[in-house]
């Protein structure tokens, strides 16, 4: 049935007619729109990905069960079919043809619909979109926070990151993939306000099984206002908006009788209070509140609500290409936002290789190597509970900026552009808990993350690229008190990278990641619906992870490249008595965006 549906979709769109394309985001490319008279276009992605991974180390001592070497891979073609029957309507489907490496003549082949949506404009005023969509609002309402485990990812790891991002629909705007409908419209003003944009959406994030699991929906919207320059002498102007996201379970369909309600609303702003050609000063931030209810048809099982505040002052030194921002944040302990706190990395997800190792087939802990390589440990879905995290990689902000139970200062600095000899970033978070977990003592968090890119070719005026990248992350968590209350966990993460263009478009890539974590902490555990258990068993760390990558990359054109790489990963740990192991990987990845 599904296959036939795929076929019908494919055929129907294939046979659609022809008119010029209208420019809209996410649809056909600009270059294609210049093509005359075409109302059906084909684009997409092709990828051949071959990997050979070996495991070694103490984990194999006496082991007679673990596969020493795994060869896997796949070849896939995502055929994007974009149809514009008229200049106000656009339909797009992506059909995925996938062939498993080693599957010959039909074995290991799948055909599926990866994406399907339609959008258009009603009466030249109202934009609509139905089907698959990627949505982001603010960092506290609806947002997909970045993954951990990286301070400045080396170019050698970017092809694999590209695979992960593509497979999980990640975008640069931290959007989250949902399925539903969206309406947008805007207003222009002549006085005070320059323009106002309104947007609303409704999506289903889970279907019901008609027994125990209810359908889940998320709806919301935002208004964005931009003022004109209110005082010319100081350049006073501002952007501000209001946001609301409401996630709820439908308890009327089927037999499911318990579900949740989560509402988050906020106001965000960015006021330019003073602007000169050489510099500008901003006041920016966001404040709001969340409500969470777990309920049945007739009663409330759990209820919580809390506030958050994020206010900062920014200085933009334009000539110096330097941007500074100092913020104060206070995120209440019970602040809960499914759309913003659901993480990318799911530590409970099954890895696609070496998920279990050893004679006892124990689950292998998700590591830096997995975060770098495996799309299966990533998700874009919303979780109604706080997802597990690993404090070695991220303890200060495991749920992104919207991490609850944090207050303190945040400082960020950005210097330069990608085309400069040097561009650098710095982030410093000095935060603390608002409410102790199992104790009145509060944890303190320090996170310092500097990173820089050094474009040697710009410095020496070379035509070929020679770039070094460096990133460092220091993170420390402490808590005072009696011995059982004390926490002291420190981790250091280093990223180093090199890109050297040997011939035109032919690069040598090298990358290095190092993580050291030492100390102990109590990892929060969920015992009931979103209730954190006090004082779970202590986790002790004395770990060291290294990941080295070296290889070549040839870029046939932008978006079309082949990379061959060798990667060596080593995980040494002495804190928990578990054995060390290493993974060695050779892979070839041919990616073709067209």
């Amino acid at each position: 049935m599904q296959k036939i549906f795929h076929l019908l979709v494919f055929t129907a769109i294939l046979l659609a007619g022809i008119v010029p394309v209208r420019a809209q985001d996410g649809g056909s490319k600009e270059s294609e729109k210049a093509d005359d008279g075409q109302r059906v276009r084909f684009n997409g992605l092709g990828r051949a990905y071959l990997l050979n991974t070996e495991i070694d180390g103490n984990v194999l001592d006496g082991d007679t069960a673990t596969t020493r070497e795994i060869t896997d891979g796949s070849f896939l073609l995502d055929l994007k079919i974009n149809a514009t029957p008229n200049d106000k309507t656009e339909v797009q489907a992506i059909l995925r043809l996938r062939n498993e490496f080693g599957g010959f003549f039909g074995a290991g082949q799948t055909v599926e619909v990866r994406e399907l949506w339609a959008r258009g404009i009603i009466a030249d005023r109202l934009k609509y979109r139905v089907g698959d969509m990627d949505l982001a609002m603010t960092e506290y309402t609806f947002f997909l926070p970045p993954e951990e485990g990286s301070a400045n990812l080396a170019a050698a790891f970017l092809p694999q990151q590209d695979v992960i991002y593509y497979e999980n629909f990640y975008t640069d705007e931290n959007t989250r993939r949902i399925q539903g409908g969206q309406l947008d419209f805007g207003l222009n003003f002549t006085d005070v306000l320059d323009e106002a944009d309104f947007s609303g959406f409704f999506a289903r994030t889970r279907g019901t099984d008609f027994f125990t699991t209810p359908s889940r929906y998320v709806t919301g919207g935002h208004t964005k206002f931009s003022t004109k320059t209110l005082i010319d002498t100081i350049g006073l102007r501002g952007d501000f908006g209001f946001n609301i996201v409401h996630t709820f379970d439908d308890l009327k369909s089927g037999d499911a009788n318990s579900g949740i309600r989560n509402t988050v609303w906020s106001a965000d702003y960015d006021f330019t209070v003073f602007e000169r050609p050489r510099y500008a000063i901003h006041i920016q931030g966001e404040a709001g509140r969340s409500d969470l209810i777990s309920k049945t048809d007739s009663s409330t099982l759990y209820e919580s609500d809390d506030w958050f505040t994020d206010i900062g002052i920014g200085l933009d030194l334009k000539q110096q290409k330097l941007k500074l921002l100092l913020s104060y944040v206070n995120i209440g302990p019970d602040f809960f936002s499914m759309g913003a706190q659901s993480r990318r990395v799911d530590y409970q997800a099954e890895k696609t290789y070496y998920d279990r190792v050893g004679n006892d087939a124990g689950v292998r802990q998700t590591s830096l190597f997995d975060i770098t390589r495996d799309p299966a440990v990533y998700t874009f879905r919303m979780s109604d509970r706080l997802m597990n995290y690993d404090p070695r990689y991220s303890n200060t902000l495991p749920y992104g900026r919207a991490t609850a139970n944090r207050q303190g200062l945040r400082f960020t600095a950005q210097y330069g552009k990608n085309t400069d000899v040097i561009n650098a970033d710095l982030a410093v978070h000095a935060l603390g808990e608002i409410r102790g977990q199992g104790t009145a003592e509060l944890k303190r968090f320090i996170l310092i993350r500097p990173s820089a890119n050094l474009n040697i070719h710009q410095l020496l005026d070379w035509k070929k690229t020679l770039r070094f990248t460096v990133g460092y992350q220091f993170e420390q968590t402490t808590r005072d008190g009696v011995q059982v209350e004390q926490v002291d966990l420190t981790s250091n993460l280093i990223d180093l990278g090199m890109e050297a263009e040997l011939f035109p478009r032919f690069e040598i890539l090298a990358g290095f990641k190092y993580l050291n974590s030492k100390g102990s902490d109590y990892i929060p555990q969920i015992v009931q619906f979103n209730i954190v258990r006090d004082l779970p068993s202590r986790s002790t760390y004395d770990d060291q992870e290294t990941l080295l990558a070296a290889g070549v990359k040839y870029q046939f054109k932008k978006g079309v490249y082949l990379t061959l790489q060798y990667q060596a990963y080593n995980f040494e740990r002495s804190g928990d008595g578990l054995p060390d192991y290493g993974l060695n990987q050779i892979f070839a990845l041919y990616t073709m965006y067209f």
Partner: protein, 699 residues
């Protein structure tokens, strides 16, 4: 391993006129374009000397091929169709294909007992995985990269709605890229299936040009009129335009460099061929177990679960070649190597592995004499078979008329029993010790001491093959003769192909049912097994040492192939008569001529006669007669009741027509009556008939 192409053992395809109309060929064409583009980025046709594929084959008068030396020349292909399409700016993606309705029916009036209740069956499709609708999608995002795939659509039309319809990719997804530097041109092929050829002894296929009947159509044939038969008469090409005929299916990564300093070229590859992809298996000796529980003709096998080998267990083949051309490309010398390793257990300690290293030659000497050869060796190793090296030596000389009166082709060879390769043209199923370790590849057409055609090489043999031919008036006569001997007397079984009704049998006993673990053995005595579009039979020898069950005698093989092709005009219409005769025997002593004698293990002869006549414009009457005799000798298995060795007669009579309805559509009907009788083995008899109707429309 056995190298009559496992997946393409069919009748030839000579549809070289209906340009751009092959579904499968289109995709292959595209593969070639990708490959060609690695060397000539403007996608221009490659000209002679570079094997490519195409939508059509352009046979030019000036390229008329000698009767017996045609293998020396690559058929020239016309890659214009897709090349032109892709050159057009507004055709980033090109979609084309064909519709093929194949109606199949059979009624076995005298069937093997275990066929019940499937003696009579009618369905759409013959059980082989061939698309009813083939949609080729090819694209070239820019001058340096391209891709292609073929969508597979099949509807069995069985009245059950659309639940049983199939929509998938056919062969896979292929990617290409190329770039030029001042030091050479480099190309990459990724994905698969890529049809790949390194050298005959490493990655290659035993090529047969015209020694098969073309009465039955192949699924990938085009729509044409008499041109197919003209091509067969003129060139003998079995499947021009189908790269599968001369190449192995490969998945993975191929890097190549050309025009390097010093006129060097290279290939490097890493990936899987079919044996690495889970098609390895073991010979099933219990016929009751091997017969698929459901024999629904027209089913579309899923191919999932072959051999039970997990695809992510290590099983890869890697290798490459370094070649140098001399004298403007007239002399080419290449070093070729492969290494295959297949893990047998989850911890990857035990593995089957084999390697081949060869030096291949392609030389022109003495004003017209051409020499092709491959000299090298290989080894096989498994947990129970220590690493042993063996030689593989072959030289072939093509001598023009001026030296020998008749065009003559001489081939001498010696191949050790320890030389093993599942991906080359040499059949390597004759060493029972290796066969016990590696098993018989699903799709193989021979096991044990294989009764081979002239020029078909088998390991543990040394021998000589000679071909010659003569053309007189409207007739062409070609003869081949071969003799060989076992180097080490090891074969305790022999095998031969049932050429006459093999295709019909393989449609009944599908060699690729879901969850197959090895070749499908189907007859009551457990000695016949099917492969792609064919069937073979194993003969057990009985002159064994009672102490260790090893053979007592060395075996000598004789083969003769005869062919006559006549093209006439009858009532201003073309009339074609094709005769094929093939004789083979195995004896305990050397003999020049295949025959049955007291020293014989086996004597098999085949006679096939095809007649094609265009009785009406675009309407061709097709007829076929096939006879097959196989007689066992004193030292082969006897029937317990009659106390006699096998004495088989196979017969086939066929009639049908080709009707080219329009330029792009054709209707093809074939009716075959078949009969088989082993006068010694009472249960080994079958009789019945088969009807096929094919409607093919290209777009």
């Amino acid at each position: 391993m056995s190298k009559i192409k496992q997946f393409d053992f069919g009748v030839p395809d000579t549809s070289w006129v209906n340009k751009a109309r092959f579904g499968l060929v289109h995709i292959i064409l595209f593969l070639s374009i990708g490959w060609v583009s690695a060397q000539t980025p403007d996608l221009s046709p490659t000209g002679s000397g570079v094997l490519t594929s195409q939508d059509s084959v352009r046979f030019m008068d000036g390229d008329r091929l000698p009767l017996v030396t045609q293998e020396m020349y690559n058929i020239k292909y016309d890659s214009a169709f897709v090349g032109d399409k892709l050159r057009k700016r507004d055709q980033l993606i090109t979609v084309f294909g064909y519709y093929r309705l194949f109606v199949y029916g059979r009624n076995m009036t005298d069937a093997y007992p275990n066929l019940e209740p499937f003696e009579r069956a009618y369905d759409v499709g013959d059980g082989y995985r061939e698309p009813m609708l083939s949609l080729n999608v090819v694209a070239r995002p820019n001058g340096r990269s391209s891709f292609g795939t073929e969508l597979f659509v099949f509807a069995p039309y069985n009245g059950s709605g659309f639940e049983n319809n199939t929509f998938s990719t056919n062969l896979g997804i292929n990617f290409y890229g190329n770039f030029r530097t001042s030091n050479g041109t480099f190309g990459v092929r990724a994905g698969g299936i890529h049809w790949y050829n390194l050298s005959p002894f490493t990655i290659g296929v035993y090529q047969i040009l015209d020694r098969f009947s073309i009465f039955d159509r192949t699924p990938w044939e085009g729509v044409n009129n008499t041109l197919k038969y003209n091509s067969y008469f003129q060139t003998g090409a079995t499947s021009p335009g189908d790269l599968r005929w001369n190449n192995q299916a490969f998945q993975g990564l191929i890097l190549n460099g050309a025009k390097l300093p010093g006129d060097l070229d290279f290939d490097l590859f890493w990936g899987k061929t079919q044996p690495n992809g889970g098609l390895a298996g073991g010979l099933v000796n219990d016929p009751n177990l091997s017969i698929p529980p459901t024999l629904d003709a027209g089913s579309v096998p899923t191919y999932i679960g072959f051999a039970g080998v997990s695809r992510n267990l290590p099983s890869v083949i890697r290798g490459g070649k370094l070649s140098k051309a001399f004298n403007a490309g007239k002399q080419v010398v290449a070093y070729n190597t492969i290494h295959s390793r297949t893990a047998l257990d989850s911890i990857n300690k035990d593995a089957i592995q084999y390697a081949v290293h060869t030096l291949s030659l392609n030389l022109s000497v003495l004003n017209g004499v051409k020499i092709k050869g491959e000299l090298g060796g290989g080894n096989f190793e498994s947990p129970n078979y220590g690493k042993k090296w063996g030689e593989a030596l072959m030289m072939r000389f093509f001598v023009p008329k001026k030296y020998t009166f008749l065009e003559t082709d001489f081939q001498i060879y010696q191949i050790s029993k320890n030389f093993f390769n599942q991906n080359g043209e040499i059949a390597t199923n004759s060493n029972p010790d290796i066969l016990a370790e590696a098993g018989l590849l699903l799709g193989a057409n021979g096991a044990g001491g294989q009764l081979a055609l002239v020029n078909q090489l088998v390991h543990n043999r040394r021998g000589l093959n000679i071909n010659t031919g003569y053309e007189i008036g409207p007739a062409k006569f070609i003869a081949g003769w071969g003799i060989s001997e076992e180097i080490d007397p090891v074969a305790t079984s022999l095998s031969y192909v049932h050429r006459i009704n093999g295709l019909a049998l393989s449609r009944i006993y599908n060699p690729f049912p879901a969850n197959a673990t090895g070749p499908a053995v189907f007859d009551p005595y457990g000695r016949k097994f099917s492969f792609f579009r064919g069937a073979s039979e194993v003969v057990q020898t009985t002159d064994l040492d009672a102490a260790n069950a090893e053979t007592l005698n060395r075996k000598y093989f004789q083969a003769v192939d005869l062919q006559a092709k006549v093209k006439l005009q009858a009532f201003n219409k073309e009339l074609f008569l094709f005769y094929l005769g093939s004789f083979g025997s195995v004896k305990t002593e050397a003999s020049l001529i295949p025959s049955l004698s007291d020293q014989s293990y086996l004597f098999v002869q085949y006679h096939e006669m095809d007649i094609y006549y265009e009785i009406l414009p675009r309407f061709i009457l097709t007829t076929y007669i096939g006879l097959e005799y196989a007689k066992g000798g004193a030292f082969t298995d006897w029937d317990a009741e009659t106390q006699l060795p096998r004495d088989q007669v196979g017969q086939a009579y066929g009639v049908g027509f080709d009707w080219t309805i329009t330029e792009n559509a054709g209707l093809y009907v074939r009716q075959r009556w078949m009969k088989f009788n082993d006068r010694s083995f009472g249960l080994d008899n079958y009789e019945g008939h088969e009807t096929t109707i094919e409607l093919k429309v290209f777009f």
